[in-house]
């Protein structure tokens, strides 16, 4: 009942772990798979090891979290070990970030070798200079990166989009036109927290990204907007904490969803809970599969 597919990729359960949350190590990815996630998206991996920004990198705010981890990761080479542990246990989506089409292609090829079920291009991180949303708000650049990666690998290529733009649907169309297999929306919102007493931005990077419950209605709208213009599948992410949140994304047009922040407070069992509640909802309201629900709010 919970099976879904994102293009040709089948998932037994519609919920994935979002990139950056409990997915930097093989063992924690396995834990998430065992907790009822249909797939795990890895932490975004780059060509070289990266320590990320210095602490403070994270803080709670009303309505969510603001983080500027700065894409810490051991680099694609060392990440092999983690993939070796995780891949045999379930579907792993390799999230990657780079500064050019070439970077992305190299990383994607390696992720494919490691056994990733798909790659997710991080075109949306709002707090890493020269990466992420700095690339992801230029439709032409986005198109050229997606094209390059598409011709480099056989596994599906997803593009993760930023909501911090008024041309979101143009970016989505650019991904589709370049042959991208799916879009993932949304990454975090550009944000900042200032400590009045110290008269300074709190994060070492000054800027960060807002995630969590407060961004859910922004993400649902992004998916709905994308659903109005795209034919390729959409994956919804942003503020999901229960089945209702997930159902909103699906009805807005998402074939699957990802969860990040809510894992902090609700723990990995959140996937099981949502799976059970979703089945109950589907039974009560006569949906026989997730795909039956996709985009119904457009009608």
């Amino acid at each position: 009942m919970l099976e879904t597919c994102i293009g040709k990729l089948k998932l037994e359960k519609p919920g994935m772990v979002a990139s950056g949350i409990m997915d930097e190590t093989g063992a924690s990815m396995v834990r998430m798979l065992e907790s009822g996630a249909g797939a795990v998206v890895t932490k975004s991996i780059g060509l070289e090891p990266n320590a990320g920004h210095a602490n403070p990198t994270f803080t709670e705010v009303k309505g969510g979290f603001v983080n500027a981890m700065g894409l810490p990761n051991p680099g694609i080479k060392m990440f092999k070990e983690e993939m070796n542990i995780a891949v045999p246990k379930g579907k792993i989506i390799g999230s990657i970030y780079g500064a050019s089409a070439d970077d992305f292609s190299k990383l994607a090829i390696t992720m494919e070798e490691y056994g990733a079920s798909a790659v997710e291009l991080n075109l949306s991180c709002p707090h890493a200079k020269g990466y992420g949303m700095e690339l992801g708000t230029d439709p032409k650049l986005v198109g050229s990166i997606v094209s390059a990666v598409k011709s480099a690998v056989k596994i599906p290529v997803w593009a993760k989009l930023t909501p911090n733009t008024h041309i979101l649907t143009d970016i989505g169309v650019a991904v589709q036109d370049a042959g991208g297999d799916a879009v993932v929306a949304i990454n975090t919102l550009k944000a900042m927290v200032i400590s009045p007493e110290f008269a300074k931005p709190f994060l070492s990077n000054k800027f960060g990204g807002l995630s969590g419950p407060g961004i859910k209605s922004v993400g649902v709208r992004a998916v709905y907007d994308l659903g109005s213009v795209l034919d390729i599948p959409i994956i919804g992410v942003g503020g999901i904490a229960d089945w209702r949140d997930a159902a909103q994304y699906i009805m807005a047009g998402a074939s699957a969803f990802q969860i990040g922040s809510a894992i902090a407070n609700k723990g990995p069992t959140i996937f099981d809970t949502i799976n059970k509640d979703m089945i109950k909802f589907m039974r009560d309201f006569g949906y026989s599969s997730i795909l039956d629900m996709v985009g119904v709010a457009h009608e």
Binding site: E24, T25, A51, N67, P74, G75, S195, F198, I263, A264
Partner: protein
């Protein structure tokens, strides 16, 4: 949640260790920690060494950030967030022996206070012993071990523990300290068939269980821990063997 607190008391525990007191109304239980920041340092995790309405952290100066904290004095401010993590479970009704190694003593002091159990403070030399005054006040019996014998028992805390376990019928060991000490405590507990709860450390960023950078195997030290049960520890392949750096790369302990 995050808060801004003023330092209302500073206590020199040893040549390299200071306690900073502040008033903070959040509820906290022994073994929980906070993330501490002032401008000019990295934000770092610190156990609460007092958990009442007046709370404190006890900081050993070992690097840039802890040295920056040592510059602070009464009236200065901290930005803190938390409390985070699972603390010690003192409700099991078992006969407890509590062990603090080095600055780990700060982390177990609230548990000593709350339980009134027997306790051991282990340190390298008599100069490194901290909080023995409080330990004497709160513990039923307090014993001290120093590696060089300059105070109390001559030897390490694990040796002293074995001796005390032989004398008394403790059922559970509660401990915080260097991982190598905890590793031998764990081995001793397995051997002697004792239960244990150990407070572990890993590099922390979010502190809130989200970024995943503090994992030991698949367990987040900041959220699933920092206090872990014997059963949890028995499943950990990394414990005593390896940790990860800021990039997530593996670093072997030995």
């Amino acid at each position: 949640m995050s808060d801004f607190v003023k330092i209302i008391g500073v206590n020199e525990e040893a040549y390299d260790t200071k306690t900073f007191e502040f008033q903070w109304d959040e509820k906290a239980i022994p073994g929980q920690f906070i993330m501490v920041w002032v401008p000019g340092m990295e934000e770092i995790p610190m156990s609460l060494s007092k958990t009442g309405r007046i709370k404190s952290i006890t900081v050993k100066a070992i690097g840039a950030s802890t040295r920056k904290l040592h510059e602070l004095t009464i009236g200065d401010s901290l930005r803190i967030r938390g409390p985070y993590g699972k603390g010690f479970d003192l409700t099991k009704g078992k006969k407890i022996l509590i062990i603090g190694g080095g600055v780990g003593t700060a982390s177990v002091m609230p548990a000593i206070k709350e339980s009134g159990a027997d306790a051991i403070i282990g340190a390298r030399t008599n100069k490194d012993v901290i909080m023995d005054d409080l330990g004497h006040k709160y513990a039923k019996n307090l014993w001290i071990s120093t590696d060089d014998g300059s105070m109390g028992f001559h030897g390490n805390a694990v040796q002293l523990m074995r001796e005390k376990v032989a004398e008394n019928n403790y059922e559970i060991i509660i401990a915080c300290g260097p991982e190598i000490m905890l590793y031998y405590i764990y081995q001793a507990c397995v051997e002697l068939n004792l239960d244990c709860q150990l407070s572990l450390e890993r590099h922390m960023k979010c502190g809130a269980g989200i970024c995943g950078c503090c994992v030991i195997d698949d367990q987040r030290v900041c959220k699933d821990g920092p206090v872990f049960t014997k059963e949890q520890i028995s499943k950990m392949k990394d414990f005593g063997v390896q940790k990860r750096d800021e990039c997530g790369r593996i670093l072997k302990f030995r």
